[in-house]
Structure formats: structure tokens, C-alpha cells
């Protein structure tokens, strides 16, 4: 009772302090513009939990839609690394790795580390009299170490942004009020990773709150909070009291996208926080060093003839008239123009007033951009009698896109006499042809290779958030017949920290993935794949492939995939089946004993809201049966953020920690981060923990992604951004 009395007094002090600031509103000018030029004025401060908040408590504020933030927080009793993504204006999602030093001594080795998910939903937006309200679940799928729920409101008054909230679970542990919902909370979370359905239950209800103040110093915020989390588990486990409820801190944003935080936590602990955030939806094309070339109407001189000589400045230039090019010269000009756009010509022919062009795009993330560049290159160099550009995009020896662009419509766009929508209307997007036999350019390059730095990582292991290996990788591919490929990829690690991984898999299932540490430690040099593949089309909308060899880092075998993707439809259906055998840890030619057959039927659906859904049903690597659901948000920049979960007939006890497989995926195209075009992407899948249930063969579904960039829907989606004057 004495404890509660003390807290009640503190709470009253806090409310009184907050109330005393209210008169200041009139003193602050209604149009206080001092902070107008601060960095990222639309981005609120991120808490030490990762999501938007003050220090150890949340507010009802949200990041702008499409923002991704990474926060690194160091303090006693726990360090935290959080990734927060804002897929919609009303939804905040956080994945967090934390290491709680206070709880750790009582737990088994590594059990102090925790990986957890949070969600926060906006209930109301702020208006003159109504605060912004939000409801959140903290650690709702993890082991429950940080499990708690809250409802919080935020209201800005002048330079103050006040927040007040109610907390349950851990966030009600200080127990200011009696929980009107009553009930009890499950103390034993078992393997964790499941919905416990005891949210907002428990005997106590906590009250938390605080404010953020903007002093007349640019990019600085002062934060004060009263925390309803008493850290009683930490007190019980370590005997150290982290329960002092008042925290204060400074947050400084020296550059756009970077926050530094310094705070006094729990009365006597120093906390340090670094937050990095960026807008995944922000268009970066304006900064490219290789912008789209200008569309040249026919009456203009071709690009190669634009050099007028060393005419003096400030004087009228003189253009030498060019002789009319011969047909061969025209073809050469077109080839050069296409090559200058880094397009690989698979076939180029002229017939009547039409050019038939087959291109392979290995330079641009979006096939539509490759088509636009091809059309621009042809417009600048094709003979004047050519009116139609028929451009087929080809991937792995099969046609995946087919567009007819009318040159006069393109020229009207260049003259700003029409719009990209009118160009689209004048163009024809048709199903790609079943055969590419007509595209057989003698100069087509069939062998490709690359050498690149290699980085392998194991992230958010319970013992360490980041194990890394750095080395050199190489890839080769050879097309030995139309659609028939040989391919290999190899890597050598020069430096790594994998030898520090000492956790052995305790899985009772076949170790289909959980021996990853052995592959990382023993496979420092080897090949990831060595395989033959044949790609083909069985009809207008049916794509197929057969692949055999060393398929991925852990498996070799033989298999096939078929995709039915009806033209102009949002849905597609795929089937794949693989007979596989596990590879040895050394990533060379040896095989282990484990063999199985795996395969899935997959239903794909593109929603109108830039969210792709995938539903897989089938047999997984550990011979378990079940389904996987994936949802991925794709931004116009090509950045993708998504999540998945897999439920199989493996029980939670058999599965082990986490109960079932789930995770989030982030795919960042290089051309979004760098100022030039590239097809390279950085792909990261984050799981709470790697187990053996619900695991698929890597690369088991490839055809959908291969056809996606040239699909009708994606072409329409990207059209405006690549067809502009």
C-alpha cells in the first residue's frame, strides 16, 4: 500500500506539472514557426522499444506511411534492437531483439534474449479537442517477457506533446488502478510465439504518461515520462530495483533520418538510443545519374549527330546536314542506342513500318523502364518510316512481356501534346508469345558471369544479434539452348564470426534448417548452387521449368514448377514438386542421408492496394503438411516489406521455441538506395528463431517473380513513372 501511495503521489505531481504548462499555450505564439525547418518535422520520436513513443512508454503518434525505422537502445537492465515499419497510416508494426541482463541469470543460457513483435493501431486522429488515440499489443507473440497492452492518447499544446495511457500486463505492473476487465494472465508461455488471448487481463491497470517539449533549439526534444512498468520481474530475478517510475531524456536529430537519444532511466541508469529511419516510399528517380533519355521526335537529328563542332559560345550554332543512313547503318545505330541503355538485344528486325525487338533486361529493376528506354532509343535512331515498336521482354529464354508502342503517340508525349495515359491508350499490352524463335540475334551473349563481395549473416540468434561472414562470391550462367541453362554460384568467406555460435539445435524434427550454424561454420568455401534448368511455356498463360542439381545451400535434387498466370488477371496458380537430398555442411559435393519429397500448390493474388498475397499448401521439408500465408506491401520504389506465418501438423511442443514459423521480410532494391539503376536487391528475412517445422526449399517458387515485372498489372502500375516527357 505504501508503494501504491508513493506512486499515486508521483502521478498527481505529474498531472499537476502537466496542468501548470497549460497556461503557457497562450504565451506561445499561435504561429510558432521556429521549428518549421527542423529535420523530419513529420516524424515523431521513437521509443526505446522501437515503436513511436517517449522513452520506455508509447505515445499515440505514428510514423508517416511507408517509413522503416531501426532503433538501437543500450541501458540497464536490457538492450534492445527494434525494427519498426509503418505499412499503413493507421498501423505500426515492430520486431524487436532484446537482451535482458536482469532476467538472464535465472534463465538458461541465452534465455535472457528475447525476440518479439508489437502492433499499434490508430483509433482517432488529433483534432482541436480530440486527442490522437491508439491501442497497442506489446510482445503479443513472443515468450511474453515484455507482454503488455495499452491504450494511449496524445495531444499537442503549443510546444508540448502530452500523452496519457492505460497499461495492462507488464505495463500495468505498477498497479495504479484495479483492472475493470479482471481475469488472470498466463504466467507460463510455454514455447511462446502464440496468441495467448489473455490480453487486457490481470488484476491491475497501470497509468502512464508524459510529454515531449520542443525548446528553442533546433532538432532537440526534451522528454519526461511516468512509467507504469515497475520492472518487478527484473527485481525478482536480480534483486535490483529498476522500478523508479520517472524517466527523463533528450532526443536530438542532427540529420534527416537520424536520432540520438540520451536519458536518465529508472532513477539511476543512463540510456543511449540511436534511431535510423527512412521513407521506403520516397521516389529516388530524380537523383539518378542515369535518367531516362529524352524522347526524340523524328524531325530532330539523331543523337549521334548532335555534335556541332567547337562553335563559339554566345553564337548561333551550325548543324551540318547528315546524309540519309542506309538500312544497315540504321540497324547499327539502333543497336548502339539500345546498348547505350544497357539493354541486351535478343532479336531486332524491321518489317514494313514496324520494328520487332526482343530484349533481355539485366540492368533495370522494372521491366517497364527497360521497355521505355528501348522505345526512346528506337525513337531516336529508327528510320522515319517506322511507326510501330513491338517490344518483347525475355527472361530465361521465354517471353514474359509484350508491348506495342506507336511512335507518333510517343512523339506527342515528347511534345507535351498528350499524356502518359494517352500513350498507354494508344499502346497495346498483349499476352507474351509462346515462342521466341523469331528473336535470334547473332550477337546475343549467352554466357554471363560476375564476381562480387559476399556477406553471409545469422541475425538475432538468442546469444548474439549478429553473426557475420565476409568474403568473395561468383556467379556464372550459360544458355546452351533456348531456355536451357547451366548455372553456378560459389563463395569463399575471408572473415567470419560464425565460430562463436555454440548453440546446437535441440529440434526433435529432422534438422532440415536448424543446423544452419554448421553450414555457416563448415561451409566457408563452397558453392550455393550448381544446376541445370529448362524454362518453357506450355501455352499463352502457362509457364514451366525443370531444375536439377545442387539447388540451394542445403539441398540438392530434381524438381519442376508450373505457373498458370492468366493475362490481365490479379490471380495466378502455381504448382511445384521436388525430390531432394540434404547437402553436407561443407557446401561441396557430398550429401547427407536425409531425403524427402516436398512441394506446394500456391495461390497468388495482387490486391488493388499494392499488397500481394500468397497462400501455399503442401508438404514441407521436415515431411510436415500445412500451409503458409504471406502478405507483402510493395511500394512504387520497388521496396517490399511483408510478413508470413506457416502452420503445419507439427505441434507447438515439437516445433520448439516460437511454436510455429513466422517472420518478416524486407527487400530493398539497390536503385532505391543508390542514384543509378540496378536489378540488385538486398533481401532480408527476419525470423524470431530458425526451427525445422514449416520450412520450404529455397527458390521453390521462381516463375511468379520472374513474370511479375513484365506482368500487365505491374506495367500499368509503373507506366506513368517511366513514360513521361
Amino acid at each position: 500500500m505504501l508503494h501504491r501511495h508513493r506512486n499515486g503521489r508521483l502521478l498527481r505531481c505529474l498531472v499537476a506539472a502537466g496542468a501548470s504548462f497549460i497556461p503557457l499555450r497562450s504565451a506561445v505564439a499561435a504561429q510558432d514557426l521556429f521549428h518549421l525547418l527542423d529535420n523530419n518535422t513529420d516524424v515523431p520520436t521513437l521509443s526505446q522499444y522501437g515503436g513511436v513513443g517517449l522513452l520506455d512508454t508509447r505515445t499515440a503518434r505514428f510514423l508517416p506511411e511507408g517509413y522503416l525505422a531501426a532503433t538501437f537502445s543500450i541501458k540497464n537492465p536490457d538492450d534492445r534492437i527494434g525494427f519498426t515499419f509503418q505499412p499503413f497510416p493507421w498501423l505500426e508494426t515492430t520486431f524487436r531483439w532484446s537482451n535482458n541482463y536482469a532476467i538472464r541469470p535465472l534463465a538458461e543460457a541465452g534465455q535472457g534474449a528475447d525476440r518479439s513483435f508489437d502492433v499499434k493501431l490508430r483509433l482517432t486522429q488529433e483534432s482541436t479537442y480530440v486527442p490522437e488515440l491508439a491501442i497497442g499489443l506489446q510482445d503479443f507473440l513472443g515468450t511474453g517477457t515484455y507482454g503488455g497492452e495499452y491504450i494511449v492518447g496524445s495531444k499537442r499544446i503549443g510546444r508540448f506533446d502530452f500523452s496519457l495511457g492505460l497499461g495492462w500486463g507488464r505495463l500495468g505492473s505498477r498497479g495504479a488502478l484495479r483492472n475493470p476487465f479482471g481475469g488472470t494472465r498466463e504466467g507460463d508461455f510455454g514455447e511462446g510465439g502464440k496468441f495467448t488471448w489473455d490480453y487486457f487481463q490481470g488484476p491491475d491497470l497501470g497509468v502512464f504518461g508524459g510529454f515531449e517539449y520542443q525548446p528553442r533549439i533546433h532538432n532537440l526534444r526534451i522528454q519526461v515520462e511516468y512509467n507504469s512498468d515497475s520492472y518487478k520481474e527484473e527485481l525478482r530475478a536480480s534483486g535490483k530495483d529498476y522500478g523508479f517510475p520517472l524517466n527523463i531524456g533528450l532526443s536530438y536529430r542532427p540529420w534527416s533520418g537520424v536520432d540520438f537519444g540520451l536519458s536518465l532511466m529508472h532513477g539511476n541508469q543512463i540510456g543511449v538510443r540511436l534511431a535510423l529511419f527512412t521513407d521506403l516510399a520516397a521516389d529516388n528517380t530524380i537523383n539518378r545519374i542515369d535518367p531516362l533519355p529524352q524522347i526524340r521526335p523524328r524531325e530532330e537529328a539523331p543523337a549521334s549527330a548532335s555534335a556541332p563542332g567547337a562553335a563559339p559560345p554566345m553564337a548561333a550554332p551550325t548543324l551540318e546536314p547528315l546524309p540519309a543512313p542506309t538500312p544497315d547503318a540504321s540497324m547499327e545505330l539502333m543497336r548502339q542506342a539500345l546498348a547505350s541503355q544497357r539493354l541486351i538485344v535478343r532479336g531486332l528486325t524491321v518489317g514494313g513500318n514496324r520494328i520487332e525487338l526482343g530484349i533481355v533486361n539485366e540492368a533495370y529493376l522494372r521491366d517497364t523502364e527497360a521497355v521505355s528506354r528501348a522505345a526512346r532509343a528506337l525513337a531516336a535512331t529508327a528510320p522515319p518510316n517506322i511507326e510501330e515498336f513491338h517490344i518483347v521482354t525475355i527472361a530465361n529464354g521465354i517471353a514474359v512481356g509484350d508491348i506495342l508502342i506507336r511512335r507518333s503517340a510517343l512523339e506527342r508525349l515528347a511534345d507535351q501534346q498528350s499524356s502518359s495515359a494517352e500513350l498507354l491508350r494508344a499502346s497495346e499490352i498483349v499476352p507474351p508469345p509462346s515462342s521466341i524463335a523469331q528473336y535470334s540475334d547473332p550477337n546475343y551473349r549467352r554466357f554471363n558471369w560476375s564476381i562480387h563481395p559476399e556477406m553471409r549473416q545469422s541475425v538475432f540468434d538468442p546469444d548474439n544479434p549478429f553473426f557475420v561472414g565476409i568474403g568473395i562470391g561468383a556467379e556464372q550462367s550459360l544458355e546452351i539452348g533456348r531456355g536451357l541453362w547451366l548455372g553456378a554460384s560459389e563463395s569463399i568467406l575471408l572473415y567470419d564470426t560464425f565460430s562463436d555460435i555454440d548453440r546446437e539445435s535441440n529440434s526433435t524434427l529432422p534438422h532440415v534448417r536448424s543446423d544452419i550454424a554448421h553450414y555457416l561454420k563448415d561451409g566457408k568455401y563452397g558453392f550455393d548452387s550448381l544446376r541445370a534448368a529448362y524454362y518453357f511455356k506450355l501455352g499463352r498463360d502457362v509457364y514451366g521449368r525443370v531444375t536439377a542439381g545442387y539447388l540451394e545451400e542445403m539441398y540438392a535434387g530434381l524438381g519442376a514448377e508450373v505457373l498458370y498466370r492468366p493475362f490481365q488477371q490479379r490471380w495466378a496458380l502455381g504448382l511445384n514438386i521436388w525430390g531432394i537430398q540434404q547437402r553436407d555442411f561443407n557446401r561441396l559435393f557430398d550429401l547427407r542421408e536425409y531425403k524427402t519429397v516436398t512441394g506446394h500448390a500456391t495461390f497468388y493474388y495482387e490486391t488493388p492496394w499494392d499488397i500481394s498475397l500468397r497462400f501455399h499448401v503442401g508438404r514441407y521439408l521436415a515431411r510436415d503438411y500445412g500451409y503458409t500465408f504471406e502478405a507483402v506491401r510493395t511500394f512504387r520504389t520497388g521496396v517490399q516489406v511483408g510478413a508470413w506465418f506457416t502452420i503445419t501438423n507439427v505441434s507447438a511442443e515439437q516445433f520448439g521455441e516460437g511454436s510455429f514459423d513466422k517472420g518478416i521480410r524486407i527487400r530493398i532494391p539497390m536503385e532505391w538506395a543508390l542514384p543509378f539503376s540496378s536489378r540488385s536487391v538486398f533481401d532480408l528475412a527476419l525470423r524470431p528463431i530458425q526451427r525445422d517445422g514449416g520450412q520450404m526449399l529455397l527458390g521453390n517458387t521462381q516463375l511468379y517473380d520472374m513474370t511479375q515485372s513484365s506482368s500487365y498489372g505491374e506495367t500499368i502500375r509503373q507506366w506513368d513513372s517511366v513514360f513521361r516527357p
Binding site: 514557426l33 535510423l276 545519374i289 542515369d290 548561333a316 550554332p317 554471363n448 564476381i451 542514384p675
Partner: protein, 220 residues
């Protein structure tokens, strides 16, 4: 806006994929790295300028490559210079409006202390206090007043497309108190006619300064 984090991310990601091969991006990385290291920027060449039969200026934002803009409209003191998707409106060399830049100047007027507008615009008036009245639509800021003071730092020779020009170098220091923003504009002015041959002006607090030089002046 995201430049700091982007650069950090870009360097990290570039480290991951830097390499070579038939399909690699090494030439682009090399170009990028060279630009970062050398700090140099591409300028409009003499031949390029000569190939355009219109009055033209070379324009750069911060350390960007220089692009060419041509005179599209001359009406009284106002001149509008156009690129493909950008427009700069000037009043005798003073940028008074921009469009198509990442951040834009909605309106600018030069005013004397008595509030009257300095019609001629151009280089800053010397020997008097004056203000710039500025609108930034994206900041919802209208009629912000920048108090300015300018100084003639003396004669300076500049070179445009190989031609040496003798100019007066005028520096203008301004501050918009309401948003706590100070900036410095520079003008290289013909000592006889007052024509602005080259200038470096801020058009928005969130944008690096716009630098332009006149490659082919308008016919009077």
C-alpha cells in the same frame, strides 16, 4: 530528406555488391565513387551550349551536374527559363519563382524599408536596407520577410565557357527571423550594365543553393 540515412545505407549496400562481371554495376559504382572522391561536377560544355540556338543558362543545385535551361518567356523584367520539367523565373538575375525542383520558391519580391517594391530586381541594392518578401507554399508560409544587407566585395574575374568576364562580386546576407533561417546569396554583376552573369541563390531552406551562369544572354 532522407539523405543522411540513404547515404549510410548506400555505402553499406554498395560494399555488399561491389564487383565486376558481364552484368555487374561496377561502372556505375566507379562513377559514383569518383564523383564522391573528386567532388567535381559536370558542367555544360561549350559545344553543348553552342548547339542550342536560344538564350540559355547553366544551372546546378548544390553539387549536382550543371543542366541547361533556355529562355522561354521574356515579359518586362521577368524572364522564365525552362528545362524539361523545371522552370526558374528571374527578375534581372534574381530568382523570384521556381517550379519542378525538389523544393520550390513560390514567390519573391524585393522591397525597400518603406514597403515599396524594387521593380528592377536583379543584383541586391547597395547602400540601403531592404527586405525580401517570400512565399513557400509547401511550408504554408506566406509573406515571410527576410531582412537583408548586401556588400560589394570588389572586382572579380570569372570565366564562362572559356570567356573571361570582369564582374563585381556582391554578397547578400539575409535572415528570415520567423523560421530562424539565415542564408547568403552571391551575384557576379557586370560593372557597367548591372547584368548578372553568374549567381548562387537560395530558393528554399531545404534545398542546396541554385547556381546559374549565363551561357548565351538574351538579345536585348
Amino acid at each position: 530528406m532522407m539523405r543522411g540515412f540513404r547515404t549510410t545505407l548506400a555505402v553499406g549496400l554498395a560494399t555488399l555488391v561491389l564487383g565486376c562481371g558481364t552484368n555487374s554495376d561496377q561502372a556505375r559504382y566507379a562513377t559514383l565513387v569518383w564523383r564522391l572522391v573528386s567532388g567535381g561536377r559536370g558542367e555544360v560544355a561549350r559545344e553543348q551550349a553552342a548547339a542550342v540556338p536560344f538564350a540559355s543558362i547553366g544551372v546546378a543545385i548544390g553539387r549536382s551536374d550543371e543542366g541547361l535551361m533556355v529562355l522561354g518567356l521574356a515579359e518586362g523584367e521577368r524572364q522564365e527559363w525552362y528545362a524539361r520539367t523545371q522552370m526558374l523565373a528571374m527578375n534581372n538575375g534574381r530568382i523570384v519563382q521556381s517550379q519542378g525542383l525538389p523544393y520550390n520558391l513560390t514567390r519573391l519580391e524585393v522591397r525597400r524599408p518603406d514597403g515599396s517594391t524594387v521593380a528592377a530586381g536583379g543584383a541586391p541594392p547597395l547602400g540601403m536596407d531592404y527586405s525580401l518578401v517570400i512565399d513557400f507554399q509547401d511550408l504554408s508560409l506566406t509573406g515571410a520577410s527576410a531582412l537583408c544587407r548586401s556588400s560589394d566585395t570588389g572586382q572579380e574575374s570569372i570565366e564562362i565557357l572559356g570567356t573571361a568576364l570582369t564582374t563585381r562580386h556582391v554578397v547578400e546576407d539575409c535572415k528570415i527571423a520567423v523560421i530562424d533561417w539565415s542564408f547568403e546569396n552571391q551575384f557576379w554583376v557586370d560593372p557597367d550594365t548591372g547584368f548578372v552573369w553568374q549567381s548562387r541563390q537560395y530558393v528554399h531552406p531545404k534545398l542546396s543553393p541554385v547556381t546559374f551562369r549565363v551561357l548565351r544572354p538574351p538579345q536585348s
